[in-house]
């Protein structure tokens, strides 16, 4: 589904990625792990075309991302901190994204209900709480039924109930055969959802495999402990 070939990227003079080669297979859920500042978000942004790599190529479902923006139709993206024009009402934001994508949102009613957003549609985006903004971000990532979902710490900032509901939604997407790529620091969540784990530190991929393989490699029972092995 996603393939990175020899991706290099440096900011100013600092090298961030050196020769990253990765492949995320279709239908799998991959968690992107790594310490703060290891470049997880940047990696995601490279896939999304927000950050332009110095060298190397990125393919999404066979499309070279450097050659056109069409592949973005396949992606539903939920940013870490969703922000929209603060004077637009939530429903206006939804119709804006509908117009930008040129398609109507699917399952809107259902998503609104699950995310408990029915009462927020008329409100100004700027007046919403952080958690609610987060939910609007999730709504827009899921509403267009894209085959690839990229989520940057989706649960952070949500209350336990909302986090649970969102998790259910994501698991359902997974069950429906979607490819999920997400960044997380919550290991229980990773254990519950991810098929694969990619561990990045200092700009290099130091592990790419299934959760089971990770446990086997490190010889730890718990994922949390296994990850700690990499960090120390």
């Amino acid at each position: 589904m996603i393939r990175l070939e020899g991706v290099h990227k440096s900011f100013r003079k600092k090298k961030l990625f050196e020769n990253i080669n990765l492949e995320f297979s279709e239908g799998k859920t991959t968690a992107l792990l790594g310490p703060n500042g290891s470049g997880k978000t940047t990696l995601v942004k490279i896939i999304l075309g927000l950050v332009i790599p110095d060298r190397g190529r990125v393919f999404v479902k066979g499309f070279d991302t450097a050659k056109g923006y069409g592949y973005k139709r396949l992606i539903g993206y939920m940013p870490q901190v969703p922000e929209f024009p603060e004077n637009l009402a939530v429903k206006e934001i939804v119709s804006m994204v509908e117009e930008l994508r040129g398609v109507k949102a699917k399952r809107l009613e259902e998503l609104l209900e699950v995310l408990r957003l029915e009462g927020e549609m008329e409100k100004r985006f700027g007046s919403l709480s952080g958690g609610t903004k987060q939910k609007v971000g999730a709504l827009l990532a899921l509403a267009f039924d894209q085959p690839l979902l990229i989520l940057d710490e989706p649960m952070v900032g949500l209350d336990p109930l909302s986090a649970y509901r969102l998790k259910r939604l994501l698991l359902e997407e997974k069950r429906r055969g979607k490819t999920l790529l997400y960044i997380s620091h919550i290991m229980s969540e990773v254990e519950e959802m991810a098929d694969c784990v990619v561990f990045i530190t200092e700009g290099r991929v130091i592990f790419h495999g299934s959760v089971e393989e990770l446990k086997k490699t490190t010889g730890k029972e718990k994922l949390e402990e296994a990850v700690l092995c990499f960090l120390s």
Binding site: K45, V81, E86, N87
Partner: protein, 255 residues
Amino acid sequence: MLFKLIKYELYDLLKSRWIVGIFIFYLLVFYILLEFGRELRKSLLSLGNVSLLTIPLFSLLLSALYAYHNRNFIEFVLTQPLKRSHLFVSLFLSLSLSVMLAYFISSFLVFYYFFGVNFSFIKFSILILSLIPLFVSIGMFCAFLVEDRLRGIGLSLLLWFAFCILYDTFLLYMAVAFSDYPIEKPLLLLTLLNPIDLLRLSFLVDAGLYEFIGSIGRPLLVYLKKWWFLPSLCSLFYTLIFYALGFRVFKGKDM
């Protein structure tokens, strides 16, 4: 696609505190200025002075602040299937249009109240309005060039300061330091190169004041009376430059 983006951005901007603030600011200031000096030409001159100072400042600040404030939104839009250039154009157009609308409507209302419709005002408006896209493009350029918000705003304020004061200070220094040399022509040329000075002079010429006090460039400046829209073309030229610079930065920018 472009128009859809502009529609929503403009809609957001027109409801924003900044634009409402600009609207009310000019409504009040123009009302006060016209109330105290009801003579048309003089009033236009003082409106011109206030606008020459504030319009660049507001346009710069608004566009830089908007770009910083909506950074995550801009990022989000870029993950949607559309061209980067479209987003840039739409931001530029909706920022420019919103300030232009706020300024034009408030000044028009006040002006209409005192003088009714009149060609001098239309002329005046076209000249002033042409500054808005210029300074919006400069503000956007700063905001996309400098990652850090405070430093970006600082840079845009510095540019405003440069256009409004530093440039003139430099020329004034030249005029004094080289007063024994024939520097009239280069000085005039340099002055006309600054769009704010150019507008100020064309307002002075239009109000007939420059004929009283001006000793240099008179014949040339009289052309400003005939070709009154020249300053707008000059502003447009600079707008294109800063727009191109900003676009270059934006196109290759890592969000």
